[in-house]
Protein backbone atom coordinates (compact mmCIF):
# COMPACT_ATOMS: atom_id res chain seq x y z
CA UNK A 1 0.00 0.00 0.00
CA UNK A 2 1.25 3.49 -0.85
CA UNK A 3 0.92 6.01 1.96
CA UNK A 4 -2.01 8.26 1.00
CA UNK A 5 -1.49 11.99 1.38
CA UNK A 6 -3.37 14.34 3.65
CA UNK A 7 -4.63 17.65 2.32
CA UNK A 8 -2.61 20.68 3.38
CA UNK A 9 -5.66 21.76 5.38
CA UNK A 10 -9.01 20.20 6.15
CA UNK A 11 -11.80 20.89 3.65
CA UNK A 12 -15.40 21.12 4.80
CA UNK A 13 -18.76 20.94 3.08
CA UNK A 14 -21.67 22.72 4.70
CA UNK A 15 -24.40 20.15 5.25
CA UNK A 16 -27.90 20.70 6.64
CA UNK A 17 -28.00 17.30 8.37
CA UNK A 18 -24.52 16.96 9.86
CA UNK A 19 -23.69 20.70 9.83
CA UNK A 20 -20.30 19.98 8.28
CA UNK A 21 -18.74 17.15 6.30
CA UNK A 22 -15.01 17.05 7.05
CA UNK A 23 -12.43 15.91 4.51
CA UNK A 24 -8.78 15.48 5.49
CA UNK A 25 -7.66 12.74 3.08
CA UNK A 26 -6.60 13.78 -0.41
CA UNK A 27 -7.93 10.44 -1.64
CA UNK A 28 -11.47 11.33 -0.52
CA UNK A 29 -11.20 14.82 -1.97
CA UNK A 30 -10.12 13.40 -5.33
CA UNK A 31 -12.93 10.84 -5.30
CA UNK A 32 -15.53 13.54 -4.65
CA UNK A 33 -14.19 15.44 -7.65
CA UNK A 34 -14.25 12.39 -9.93
CA UNK A 35 -16.62 12.54 -12.87
CA UNK A 36 -18.59 9.46 -11.82
CA UNK A 37 -19.16 10.85 -8.33
CA UNK A 38 -20.21 14.30 -9.60
CA UNK A 39 -22.82 12.51 -11.71
CA UNK A 40 -24.65 11.71 -8.45
CA UNK A 41 -25.58 15.41 -8.20
CA UNK A 42 -27.93 14.72 -11.13
CA UNK A 43 -29.70 11.78 -9.51
CA UNK A 44 -32.31 12.39 -6.83
CA UNK A 45 -32.04 10.38 -3.67
CA UNK A 46 -35.78 9.80 -3.46
CA UNK A 47 -36.71 9.31 -7.11
CA UNK A 48 -40.32 10.35 -7.65
CA UNK A 49 -40.99 11.36 -4.00
CA UNK A 50 -40.52 15.04 -4.91
CA UNK A 51 -43.93 14.85 -6.57
CA UNK A 52 -45.42 14.13 -3.14
CA UNK A 53 -43.02 16.00 -0.87
CA UNK A 54 -41.81 18.99 -2.82
CA UNK A 55 -38.75 19.41 -0.63
CA UNK A 56 -37.46 15.96 -1.49
CA UNK A 57 -35.22 17.13 -4.32
CA UNK A 58 -31.90 16.22 -2.68
CA UNK A 59 -29.42 14.12 -4.59
CA UNK A 60 -27.45 10.96 -4.07
CA UNK A 61 -24.39 13.23 -3.95
CA UNK A 62 -25.66 14.82 -0.68
CA UNK A 63 -26.46 11.43 0.79
CA UNK A 64 -23.13 9.88 -0.17
CA UNK A 65 -21.25 12.71 1.54
CA UNK A 66 -23.48 12.20 4.58
CA UNK A 67 -22.73 8.47 4.79
CA UNK A 68 -19.04 9.27 4.50
CA UNK A 69 -19.31 11.78 7.37
CA UNK A 70 -21.11 9.29 9.61
CA UNK A 71 -18.46 6.68 8.85
CA UNK A 72 -15.72 9.19 9.66
CA UNK A 73 -17.32 9.79 13.04
CA UNK A 74 -17.81 6.08 13.71
CA UNK A 75 -14.09 5.59 13.11
CA UNK A 76 -13.38 8.37 15.61
CA UNK A 77 -15.56 6.57 18.19
CA UNK A 78 -13.74 3.31 17.45
CA UNK A 79 -10.31 4.89 17.93
CA UNK A 80 -8.48 2.90 20.60
CA UNK A 81 -11.32 0.35 20.80
CA UNK A 82 -10.51 -1.70 17.74
CA UNK A 83 -7.37 -2.22 15.73
CA UNK A 84 -7.94 -0.97 12.19
CA UNK A 85 -5.00 -0.29 9.88
CA UNK A 86 -4.71 2.95 7.91
CA UNK A 87 -5.75 1.04 4.79
CA UNK A 88 -8.81 -0.44 6.53
CA UNK A 89 -9.90 2.99 7.71
CA UNK A 90 -9.57 4.33 4.17
CA UNK A 91 -11.50 1.31 2.96
CA UNK A 92 -14.37 2.19 5.32
CA UNK A 93 -14.38 5.83 4.21
CA UNK A 94 -14.19 5.02 0.48
CA UNK A 95 -16.91 2.36 0.70
CA UNK A 96 -19.16 4.78 2.59
CA UNK A 97 -18.60 7.53 0.05
CA UNK A 98 -18.98 5.30 -3.01
CA UNK A 99 -21.64 2.81 -1.93
CA UNK A 100 -24.31 4.36 -4.19
CA UNK A 101 -22.11 5.39 -7.12
CA UNK A 102 -23.77 2.84 -9.42
CA UNK A 103 -27.27 4.28 -9.03
CA UNK A 104 -28.94 5.51 -12.17
CA UNK A 105 -31.87 7.86 -12.73
CA UNK A 106 -35.03 6.71 -10.96
CA UNK A 107 -33.10 3.54 -10.14
CA UNK A 108 -35.90 1.46 -8.75
CA UNK A 109 -38.14 1.86 -11.80
CA UNK A 110 -35.36 1.84 -14.35
CA UNK A 111 -33.86 -1.37 -12.99
CA UNK A 112 -37.25 -3.05 -12.99
CA UNK A 113 -37.93 -2.28 -16.64
CA UNK A 114 -34.45 -2.83 -18.03
CA UNK A 115 -33.67 -5.78 -15.78
CA UNK A 116 -30.37 -4.90 -14.17
CA UNK A 117 -29.00 -4.19 -10.75
CA UNK A 118 -27.29 -0.93 -9.78
CA UNK A 119 -24.97 -2.86 -7.47
CA UNK A 120 -23.46 -4.54 -10.48
CA UNK A 121 -22.79 -1.10 -11.97
CA UNK A 122 -21.26 0.07 -8.70
CA UNK A 123 -18.80 -2.81 -8.94
CA UNK A 124 -18.01 -1.96 -12.56
CA UNK A 125 -17.44 1.72 -11.75
CA UNK A 126 -15.11 0.81 -8.90
CA UNK A 127 -13.12 -1.81 -10.80
CA UNK A 128 -13.51 -0.73 -14.44
CA UNK A 129 -11.98 1.97 -16.63
CA UNK A 130 -13.08 5.04 -14.65
CA UNK A 131 -11.61 8.06 -12.89
CA UNK A 132 -12.70 6.58 -9.58
CA UNK A 133 -10.79 3.38 -10.29
CA UNK A 134 -7.64 5.30 -11.14
CA UNK A 135 -7.88 7.31 -7.91
CA UNK A 136 -8.48 4.19 -5.80
CA UNK A 137 -5.55 2.42 -7.42
CA UNK A 138 -3.26 5.12 -6.06
CA UNK A 139 -3.65 3.35 -2.69
CA UNK A 140 -2.78 -0.06 -4.10
CA UNK A 141 -3.48 -2.32 -7.04
CA UNK A 142 -6.13 -4.35 -5.19
CA UNK A 143 -7.70 -1.48 -3.30
CA UNK A 144 -10.57 -0.87 -5.80
CA UNK A 145 -11.52 -4.54 -5.59
CA UNK A 146 -11.54 -4.35 -1.79
CA UNK A 147 -13.82 -1.31 -1.85
CA UNK A 148 -16.12 -3.20 -4.24
CA UNK A 149 -16.16 -6.16 -1.84
CA UNK A 150 -17.10 -4.01 1.14
CA UNK A 151 -19.92 -2.39 -0.84
CA UNK A 152 -20.97 -5.81 -2.16
CA UNK A 153 -20.88 -7.27 1.38
CA UNK A 154 -18.38 -9.93 0.42
CA UNK A 155 -15.34 -8.49 2.18
CA UNK A 156 -13.83 -10.86 4.70
CA UNK A 157 -13.83 -8.39 7.62
CA UNK A 158 -17.48 -8.52 8.72
CA UNK A 159 -17.10 -5.58 11.09
CA UNK A 160 -16.24 -3.28 8.19
CA UNK A 161 -19.14 -4.62 6.10
CA UNK A 162 -21.59 -4.17 8.97
CA UNK A 163 -20.75 -0.47 9.24
CA UNK A 164 -22.09 0.01 5.70
CA UNK A 165 -24.76 -2.63 5.70
CA UNK A 166 -26.71 -3.96 8.67
CA UNK A 167 -29.96 -3.20 10.44
CA UNK A 168 -28.33 -0.04 11.81
CA UNK A 169 -25.58 1.30 9.60
CA UNK A 170 -24.11 4.54 8.28
CA UNK A 171 -26.17 4.37 5.08
CA UNK A 172 -29.56 4.02 6.81
CA UNK A 173 -28.76 6.53 9.50
CA UNK A 174 -27.96 9.16 6.91
CA UNK A 175 -30.87 8.51 4.58
CA UNK A 176 -33.46 8.50 7.36
CA UNK A 177 -32.25 11.82 8.75
CA UNK A 178 -31.66 13.39 5.36
CA UNK A 179 -34.91 12.26 3.78
CA UNK A 180 -36.84 13.46 6.84
CA UNK A 181 -35.08 16.82 6.69
CA UNK A 182 -35.70 17.43 3.00
CA UNK A 183 -39.24 16.09 2.86
CA UNK A 184 -40.06 18.17 5.92
CA UNK A 185 -41.57 15.32 7.95
CA UNK A 186 -40.94 15.03 11.66
CA UNK A 187 -40.93 11.30 12.20
CA UNK A 188 -37.54 10.46 10.66
CA UNK A 189 -35.55 12.09 13.40
CA UNK A 190 -33.51 10.28 16.03
CA UNK A 191 -30.52 11.15 18.17
CA UNK A 192 -27.59 10.17 15.97
CA UNK A 193 -25.10 11.83 18.34
CA UNK A 194 -26.22 9.48 21.07
CA UNK A 195 -26.13 6.42 18.80
CA UNK A 196 -22.60 7.19 17.66
CA UNK A 197 -21.51 7.67 21.28
CA UNK A 198 -22.85 4.28 22.43
CA UNK A 199 -21.74 2.29 19.37
CA UNK A 200 -18.96 -0.21 20.08
CA UNK A 201 -17.06 -2.64 17.88
CA UNK A 202 -17.58 -6.24 18.90
CA UNK A 203 -16.04 -9.18 17.05
CA UNK A 204 -17.80 -9.35 13.67
CA UNK A 205 -20.08 -6.37 14.11
CA UNK A 206 -21.16 -3.49 16.28
CA UNK A 207 -23.12 -3.49 19.53
CA UNK A 208 -24.74 -0.64 21.48
CA UNK A 209 -24.34 0.17 25.14
CA UNK A 210 -27.60 -0.51 26.97
CA UNK A 211 -27.64 3.09 28.20
CA UNK A 212 -28.26 4.17 24.60
CA UNK A 213 -31.18 1.83 23.97
CA UNK A 214 -33.76 4.61 23.72
CA UNK A 215 -31.84 6.29 20.91
CA UNK A 216 -31.75 2.96 19.05
CA UNK A 217 -35.48 2.49 19.67
CA UNK A 218 -36.08 5.92 18.16
CA UNK A 219 -34.04 4.95 15.11
CA UNK A 220 -36.10 1.77 14.57
CA UNK A 221 -39.37 3.63 14.97
CA UNK A 222 -38.27 6.41 12.64
CA UNK A 223 -37.35 3.80 10.07
CA UNK A 224 -40.80 2.25 10.41
CA UNK A 225 -42.54 5.61 10.03
CA UNK A 226 -40.41 6.79 7.14
CA UNK A 227 -41.09 3.67 5.08
CA UNK A 228 -44.85 3.95 5.35
CA UNK A 229 -45.23 7.71 5.46
CA UNK A 230 -42.62 8.71 2.88
CA UNK A 231 -41.02 5.90 0.87
CA UNK A 232 -44.24 3.97 0.21
CA UNK A 233 -46.52 6.98 -0.14
CA UNK A 234 -49.28 6.07 -2.62
CA UNK A 235 -48.81 9.25 -4.68
CA UNK A 236 -45.09 8.58 -5.06
CA UNK A 237 -45.96 5.05 -6.15
CA UNK A 238 -48.44 6.43 -8.67
CA UNK A 239 -45.63 8.49 -10.24
CA UNK A 240 -43.44 5.37 -10.26
CA UNK A 241 -46.16 3.39 -12.01
CA UNK A 242 -46.37 6.04 -14.75
CA UNK A 243 -42.60 6.22 -15.09
CA UNK A 244 -42.47 2.46 -15.42
CA UNK A 245 -45.13 2.60 -18.13
CA UNK A 246 -43.19 5.32 -19.99
CA UNK A 247 -40.07 3.15 -20.17
CA UNK A 248 -42.11 0.08 -21.10
CA UNK A 249 -43.93 1.97 -23.85
CA UNK A 250 -40.75 3.50 -25.27
CA UNK A 251 -39.13 0.09 -25.34
CA UNK A 252 -42.15 -1.56 -26.88
CA UNK A 253 -42.26 1.12 -29.59
CA UNK A 254 -38.57 0.62 -30.29
CA UNK A 255 -39.04 -3.16 -30.51
CA UNK A 256 -41.92 -2.73 -32.95
CA UNK A 257 -39.82 -0.57 -35.28
CA UNK A 258 -41.50 2.74 -34.43
CA UNK A 259 -39.58 5.75 -35.71
CA UNK A 260 -39.13 8.32 -32.95
CA UNK A 261 -39.20 11.98 -33.99
CA UNK A 262 -35.80 12.24 -32.38
CA UNK A 263 -33.69 9.15 -32.01
CA UNK A 264 -33.47 8.30 -28.26
CA UNK A 265 -29.71 7.83 -28.51
CA UNK A 266 -29.11 7.53 -24.76
CA UNK A 267 -31.72 4.79 -24.40
CA UNK A 268 -30.78 2.66 -27.41
CA UNK A 269 -28.24 0.51 -25.50
CA UNK A 270 -30.93 -0.15 -22.86
CA UNK A 271 -33.55 -1.06 -25.46
CA UNK A 272 -31.07 -3.40 -27.13
CA UNK A 273 -29.81 -4.85 -23.85
CA UNK A 274 -26.21 -4.06 -24.77
CA UNK A 275 -25.14 -1.54 -22.16
CA UNK A 276 -21.52 -0.49 -21.73
CA UNK A 277 -20.19 1.32 -18.69
CA UNK A 278 -19.84 4.49 -20.79
CA UNK A 279 -23.50 4.22 -21.87
CA UNK A 280 -24.57 3.77 -18.29
CA UNK A 281 -22.63 6.77 -17.03
CA UNK A 282 -24.14 9.01 -19.71
CA UNK A 283 -27.59 8.55 -18.23
CA UNK A 284 -28.85 10.77 -15.43
CA UNK A 285 -32.14 12.43 -14.52
CA UNK A 286 -31.44 15.46 -16.71
CA UNK A 287 -31.28 13.12 -19.69
CA UNK A 288 -34.40 11.24 -18.53
CA UNK A 289 -36.35 14.51 -18.26
CA UNK A 290 -35.07 15.72 -21.62
CA UNK A 291 -36.53 12.65 -23.32
CA UNK A 292 -39.78 12.95 -21.42
CA UNK A 293 -40.05 16.48 -22.80
CA UNK A 294 -39.40 15.15 -26.30
CA UNK A 295 -41.68 12.15 -25.97
CA UNK A 296 -44.67 14.17 -24.84
CA UNK A 297 -44.58 15.59 -28.38
CA UNK A 298 -44.40 12.14 -30.01
CA UNK A 299 -47.22 11.02 -32.27
CA UNK A 300 -47.75 7.85 -30.25
CA UNK A 301 -50.68 8.87 -28.04
CA UNK A 302 -49.81 6.55 -25.16
CA UNK A 303 -46.18 7.60 -24.81
CA UNK A 304 -47.11 11.24 -25.23
CA UNK A 305 -49.90 11.04 -22.65
CA UNK A 306 -47.81 9.20 -20.07
CA UNK A 307 -44.94 11.71 -20.35
CA UNK A 308 -47.33 14.65 -20.06
CA UNK A 309 -48.86 13.04 -16.98
CA UNK A 310 -45.50 12.61 -15.30
CA UNK A 311 -44.22 16.09 -16.11
CA UNK A 312 -47.47 17.85 -15.21
CA UNK A 313 -48.08 15.65 -12.18
CA UNK A 314 -51.38 14.44 -13.51
CA UNK A 315 -50.96 11.09 -11.79
CA UNK A 316 -53.09 7.97 -11.62
CA UNK A 317 -55.79 7.63 -8.99
CA UNK A 318 -55.78 4.56 -6.77
CA UNK A 319 -58.04 2.24 -4.83
CA UNK A 320 -57.17 -0.42 -2.28
CA UNK A 321 -56.77 -3.81 -3.90
CA UNK A 322 -57.00 -7.30 -2.50
CA UNK A 323 -54.79 -9.65 -4.55
CA UNK A 324 -57.34 -12.42 -3.99
CA UNK A 325 -59.74 -10.33 -6.02
CA UNK A 326 -57.91 -11.14 -9.25
CA UNK A 327 -61.03 -12.22 -11.15
CA UNK A 328 -62.48 -8.74 -10.64
CA UNK A 329 -59.21 -7.26 -11.83
CA UNK A 330 -59.45 -9.23 -15.07
CA UNK A 331 -62.95 -7.81 -15.55
CA UNK A 332 -61.71 -4.28 -14.93
CA UNK A 333 -58.96 -4.70 -17.50
CA UNK A 334 -61.46 -6.08 -19.97
CA UNK A 335 -63.77 -3.11 -19.47
CA UNK A 336 -60.90 -0.66 -19.93
CA UNK A 337 -59.92 -2.41 -23.15
CA UNK A 338 -63.49 -2.31 -24.45
CA UNK A 339 -63.57 1.41 -23.69
CA UNK A 340 -60.46 1.94 -25.84
CA UNK A 341 -58.00 2.41 -22.95
CA UNK A 342 -55.09 -0.01 -23.09
CA UNK A 343 -54.93 -1.68 -19.65
CA UNK A 344 -51.31 -2.66 -20.22
CA UNK A 345 -50.44 1.03 -19.73
CA UNK A 346 -53.37 2.34 -17.72
CA UNK A 347 -54.23 -0.30 -15.12
CA UNK A 348 -51.61 -1.46 -12.66
CA UNK A 349 -51.47 -3.14 -9.29
CA UNK A 350 -48.59 -1.96 -7.16
CA UNK A 351 -47.58 -3.98 -4.11
CA UNK A 352 -45.22 -2.94 -1.41
CA UNK A 353 -44.13 -4.50 1.85
CA UNK A 354 -41.68 -4.01 4.64
CA UNK A 355 -40.20 -5.72 7.66
CA UNK A 356 -39.08 -2.90 9.98
CA UNK A 357 -36.88 -4.96 12.27
CA UNK A 358 -36.13 -8.65 12.50
CA UNK A 359 -34.98 -10.30 15.66
CA UNK A 360 -33.03 -13.48 16.21
CA UNK A 361 -35.00 -16.71 16.06
CA UNK A 362 -32.95 -19.65 17.28
CA UNK A 363 -32.61 -22.44 14.72
CA UNK A 364 -33.91 -20.47 11.76
CA UNK A 365 -31.98 -19.73 8.62
CA UNK A 366 -32.46 -16.00 8.85
CA UNK A 367 -30.41 -13.41 7.08
CA UNK A 368 -30.74 -10.23 9.09
CA UNK A 369 -28.24 -9.81 11.89
CA UNK A 370 -30.07 -8.55 14.98
CA UNK A 371 -29.11 -5.41 16.89
CA UNK A 372 -27.37 -6.33 20.13
CA UNK A 373 -27.23 -4.35 23.35
CA UNK A 374 -24.23 -4.61 25.66
CA UNK A 375 -25.21 -4.65 29.31
CA UNK A 376 -22.92 -3.24 31.99
CA UNK A 377 -21.98 -6.84 32.88
CA UNK A 378 -20.69 -7.28 29.33
CA UNK A 379 -23.54 -9.63 28.43
CA UNK A 380 -25.07 -9.14 24.96
CA UNK A 381 -28.87 -9.10 24.67
CA UNK A 382 -30.88 -8.73 21.49
CA UNK A 383 -32.72 -5.39 21.27
CA UNK A 384 -36.33 -6.64 21.13
CA UNK A 385 -35.84 -8.59 24.37
CA UNK A 386 -35.21 -5.38 26.25
CA UNK A 387 -37.34 -2.92 24.33
CA UNK A 388 -41.10 -3.37 24.41
CA UNK A 389 -41.51 -0.78 21.68
CA UNK A 390 -39.22 -2.61 19.28
CA UNK A 391 -40.73 -5.94 20.29
CA UNK A 392 -44.13 -4.65 19.19
CA UNK A 393 -42.97 -4.29 15.57
CA UNK A 394 -40.30 -7.00 15.43
CA UNK A 395 -40.71 -9.63 12.77
CA UNK A 396 -43.97 -8.03 11.64
CA UNK A 397 -44.46 -7.77 7.92
CA UNK A 398 -46.78 -5.17 6.53
CA UNK A 399 -48.15 -5.31 2.99
CA UNK A 400 -50.01 -2.81 0.87
CA UNK A 401 -51.63 -3.30 -2.53
CA UNK A 402 -53.11 -0.56 -4.65
CA UNK A 403 -54.74 -0.54 -8.03
CA UNK A 404 -53.83 2.50 -10.11
CA UNK A 405 -55.88 3.90 -13.00
CA UNK A 406 -56.37 7.27 -14.79
CA UNK A 407 -59.49 8.76 -13.24
CA UNK A 408 -59.63 11.61 -15.79
CA UNK A 409 -59.74 9.15 -18.69
CA UNK A 410 -62.45 7.24 -16.91
CA UNK A 411 -64.50 10.42 -16.52
CA UNK A 412 -64.19 11.20 -20.22
CA UNK A 413 -65.85 7.89 -21.17
CA UNK A 414 -69.56 7.61 -21.96
CA UNK A 415 -71.50 7.29 -18.70
CA UNK A 416 -72.54 3.66 -19.14
CA UNK A 417 -68.95 2.47 -19.74
CA UNK A 418 -67.53 4.66 -16.98
CA UNK A 419 -70.25 3.56 -14.58
CA UNK A 420 -69.47 -0.11 -15.07
CA UNK A 421 -65.76 0.43 -14.46
CA UNK A 422 -66.38 2.64 -11.43
CA UNK A 423 -68.63 0.00 -9.99
CA UNK A 424 -65.95 -2.66 -10.42
CA UNK A 425 -63.31 -0.38 -8.96
CA UNK A 426 -65.56 0.59 -6.10
CA UNK A 427 -65.11 4.34 -6.64
CA UNK A 428 -67.72 7.06 -6.43
CA UNK A 429 -68.23 9.54 -9.25
CA UNK A 430 -66.59 12.41 -7.36
CA UNK A 431 -63.59 10.39 -6.12
Amino acid sequence: MQEPQLLSEEKVFKDPVHRYVHVREKLIWDLINAREFQRLRRIRQLGTSYLTFHGGEHSRFNHSLGVYEIMRRILETFEGRVQLSREEKLLCLCAALLHDVGHGPFSHTFEKVFRFDHEEWTRKILTGDTEINRILRSVGEHFPQKVAEVVGKTYENKLIVSLISSQIDADRMDYLLRDAYYTGVNYGNFDIERILRVMRPHEDGVVFKFSGMHAVEDYIMSRYQMYWQVYFHPVTRSAEVILCKIFQRARQLYDSGYIFEQEPRHYLPFFRGEITLADYLMLDENVAFYYMGQWRMEKDPILSDLCARFMDRNLFQYVEYNPRDFINLEEIKKLFLEAGIDPAYYVEVDSTSDLPYDFYRPGEEQERIPIMLRMSSGELIELSRKSEIVQAISGKRRFDHKLYFPYDKLMSLPEDAAGLIRERLGVMEDA
Partner: protein
Protein backbone atom coordinates in the same frame (compact mmCIF):
# COMPACT_ATOMS: atom_id res chain seq x y z
CA UNK B 1 -49.61 -7.09 -12.41
CA UNK B 2 -48.47 -9.27 -9.53
CA UNK B 3 -46.48 -11.17 -12.12
CA UNK B 4 -43.49 -11.32 -9.82
CA UNK B 5 -45.64 -13.11 -7.25
CA UNK B 6 -47.04 -15.42 -9.89
CA UNK B 7 -43.57 -16.47 -11.03
CA UNK B 8 -42.65 -17.54 -7.50
CA UNK B 9 -45.87 -19.53 -7.33
CA UNK B 10 -45.03 -21.12 -10.64
CA UNK B 11 -41.67 -22.18 -9.22
CA UNK B 12 -43.35 -23.82 -6.24
CA UNK B 13 -45.89 -25.47 -8.54
CA UNK B 14 -43.16 -26.94 -10.73
CA UNK B 15 -41.14 -28.09 -7.74
CA UNK B 16 -44.22 -29.58 -6.05
CA UNK B 17 -42.74 -28.68 -2.69
CA UNK B 18 -39.76 -26.58 -1.70
CA UNK B 19 -38.09 -27.50 1.55
CA UNK B 20 -36.37 -24.59 3.26
CA UNK B 21 -36.35 -20.85 2.78
CA UNK B 22 -32.68 -20.91 1.95
CA UNK B 23 -33.25 -23.46 -0.79
CA UNK B 24 -35.99 -21.34 -2.33
CA UNK B 25 -33.73 -18.28 -2.41
CA UNK B 26 -30.89 -20.19 -4.00
CA UNK B 27 -33.16 -21.74 -6.65
CA UNK B 28 -34.51 -18.35 -7.67
CA UNK B 29 -31.03 -16.81 -7.68
CA UNK B 30 -29.50 -19.59 -9.80
CA UNK B 31 -32.44 -19.53 -12.23
CA UNK B 32 -32.17 -15.75 -12.51
CA UNK B 33 -28.44 -15.98 -13.23
CA UNK B 34 -29.33 -18.38 -16.01
CA UNK B 35 -31.64 -15.74 -17.49
CA UNK B 36 -34.94 -17.06 -16.18
CA UNK B 37 -37.22 -14.07 -15.81
CA UNK B 38 -37.50 -13.60 -12.04
CA UNK B 39 -37.87 -10.08 -10.67
CA UNK B 40 -36.22 -10.22 -7.27
CA UNK B 41 -32.97 -8.41 -6.54
CA UNK B 42 -30.30 -10.26 -4.60
CA UNK B 43 -27.50 -9.24 -2.29
CA UNK B 44 -24.79 -11.29 -0.64
CA UNK B 45 -25.77 -12.19 2.92
CA UNK B 46 -24.83 -14.69 5.57
CA UNK B 47 -25.88 -17.75 3.54
CA UNK B 48 -24.89 -16.37 0.15
CA UNK B 49 -27.15 -14.61 -2.36
CA UNK B 50 -30.34 -13.57 -0.63
CA UNK B 51 -33.32 -11.46 -1.64
CA UNK B 52 -35.28 -9.40 0.85
CA UNK B 53 -37.92 -8.90 -1.85
CA UNK B 54 -38.34 -12.65 -2.23
CA UNK B 55 -38.71 -13.11 1.53
CA UNK B 56 -41.42 -10.48 1.67
CA UNK B 57 -43.24 -11.81 -1.41
CA UNK B 58 -43.32 -15.34 -0.04
CA UNK B 59 -44.61 -14.06 3.31
CA UNK B 60 -47.22 -12.07 1.43
CA UNK B 61 -48.38 -15.10 -0.57
CA UNK B 62 -48.61 -17.13 2.62
CA UNK B 63 -50.58 -14.42 4.42
CA UNK B 64 -52.92 -14.16 1.41
CA UNK B 65 -53.54 -17.89 1.71
CA UNK B 66 -52.21 -18.80 -1.73
CA UNK B 67 -49.09 -20.60 -0.59
CA UNK B 68 -49.02 -23.08 2.28
CA UNK B 69 -46.12 -22.79 4.67
CA UNK B 70 -45.50 -25.50 7.22
CA UNK B 71 -42.79 -25.38 9.84
CA UNK B 72 -41.14 -28.42 11.31
CA UNK B 73 -38.32 -28.88 13.78
CA UNK B 74 -35.38 -30.93 12.64
CA UNK B 75 -33.20 -31.14 15.72
CA UNK B 76 -32.08 -27.59 16.45
CA UNK B 77 -33.14 -26.43 12.99
CA UNK B 78 -36.57 -25.07 12.04
CA UNK B 79 -37.46 -26.05 8.51
CA UNK B 80 -40.11 -24.41 6.35
CA UNK B 81 -41.93 -26.23 3.55
CA UNK B 82 -43.81 -24.44 0.78
CA UNK B 83 -46.62 -25.85 -1.32
CA UNK B 84 -49.12 -24.29 -3.67
CA UNK B 85 -52.74 -24.68 -2.57
CA UNK B 86 -55.99 -24.60 -4.56
CA UNK B 87 -56.37 -20.83 -4.26
CA UNK B 88 -52.83 -20.41 -5.48
CA UNK B 89 -53.49 -22.67 -8.45
CA UNK B 90 -56.55 -20.63 -9.37
CA UNK B 91 -54.50 -17.43 -9.10
CA UNK B 92 -51.90 -18.90 -11.44
CA UNK B 93 -54.54 -19.79 -14.00
CA UNK B 94 -55.45 -16.11 -14.26
CA UNK B 95 -51.86 -14.96 -14.55
CA UNK B 96 -50.25 -16.02 -17.72
CA UNK B 97 -46.84 -16.99 -16.39
CA UNK B 98 -44.33 -18.63 -18.63
CA UNK B 99 -40.83 -19.05 -17.30
CA UNK B 100 -39.74 -21.14 -20.29
CA UNK B 101 -36.84 -23.47 -19.65
CA UNK B 102 -36.99 -22.30 -16.03
CA UNK B 103 -39.39 -25.21 -15.42
CA UNK B 104 -36.69 -27.75 -16.28
CA UNK B 105 -34.04 -25.99 -14.21
CA UNK B 106 -36.32 -25.78 -11.19
CA UNK B 107 -37.19 -29.48 -11.32
CA UNK B 108 -33.52 -30.35 -11.48
CA UNK B 109 -32.42 -27.96 -8.75
CA UNK B 110 -35.13 -29.17 -6.43
CA UNK B 111 -33.46 -32.58 -6.38
CA UNK B 112 -30.43 -31.06 -4.64
CA UNK B 113 -30.13 -30.04 -0.99
CA UNK B 114 -29.88 -26.47 0.25
CA UNK B 115 -26.24 -26.82 1.33
CA UNK B 116 -25.20 -27.73 -2.20
CA UNK B 117 -27.37 -25.01 -3.78
CA UNK B 118 -25.83 -22.50 -1.38
CA UNK B 119 -22.44 -23.45 -2.77
CA UNK B 120 -23.62 -23.32 -6.39
CA UNK B 121 -25.15 -19.88 -5.89
CA UNK B 122 -22.01 -18.62 -4.14
CA UNK B 123 -19.81 -19.91 -6.96
CA UNK B 124 -22.14 -18.18 -9.42
CA UNK B 125 -22.01 -14.96 -7.41
CA UNK B 126 -18.24 -14.89 -7.86
CA UNK B 127 -18.13 -16.22 -11.39
CA UNK B 128 -16.61 -12.96 -12.63
CA UNK B 129 -13.47 -13.74 -10.61
CA UNK B 130 -10.60 -16.01 -11.73
CA UNK B 131 -10.98 -19.58 -10.38
CA UNK B 132 -8.43 -19.23 -7.55
CA UNK B 133 -9.98 -16.00 -6.30
CA UNK B 134 -13.48 -17.46 -6.51
CA UNK B 135 -12.31 -20.50 -4.54
CA UNK B 136 -10.69 -18.30 -1.92
CA UNK B 137 -13.95 -16.33 -1.56
CA UNK B 138 -15.92 -19.54 -1.05
CA UNK B 139 -13.50 -20.83 1.57
CA UNK B 140 -13.32 -17.48 3.41
CA UNK B 141 -16.97 -16.44 3.35
CA UNK B 142 -18.32 -19.95 3.76
CA UNK B 143 -15.82 -21.21 6.29
CA UNK B 144 -18.64 -22.52 8.52
CA UNK B 145 -19.86 -24.82 5.76
CA UNK B 146 -16.39 -26.33 5.30
CA UNK B 147 -16.78 -26.84 1.56
CA UNK B 148 -14.04 -28.77 -0.20
CA UNK B 149 -12.48 -28.12 -3.59
CA UNK B 150 -14.12 -31.32 -4.79
CA UNK B 151 -17.51 -29.85 -3.93
CA UNK B 152 -16.65 -26.65 -5.82
CA UNK B 153 -15.86 -28.81 -8.84
CA UNK B 154 -19.20 -30.54 -8.42
CA UNK B 155 -20.91 -27.14 -8.25
CA UNK B 156 -19.22 -26.07 -11.49
CA UNK B 157 -20.23 -29.34 -13.16
CA UNK B 158 -23.79 -28.82 -11.94
CA UNK B 159 -23.87 -25.36 -13.52
CA UNK B 160 -22.65 -26.86 -16.79
CA UNK B 161 -25.43 -29.42 -16.54
CA UNK B 162 -28.02 -26.68 -16.03
CA UNK B 163 -26.60 -24.70 -18.96
CA UNK B 164 -26.81 -27.79 -21.14
CA UNK B 165 -30.44 -28.22 -20.13
CA UNK B 166 -31.16 -24.73 -21.43
CA UNK B 167 -29.89 -25.70 -24.87
CA UNK B 168 -32.11 -28.79 -25.06
Amino acid sequence: MLKAHAKIMRLVEVAGEVTGRKKLHKMVYIAKKLQVDFDERFEFHMYGPYSEELTLRVDELCSLGMLDETKESKGAIELYRYKLNEDGREFLQYHNVDIGYGDRLISRMNQENSRFLELVSTVLYFEHLPYEQMKSKVFTLKSMQKYTEEEIQKALAFMDELRDMIKQ
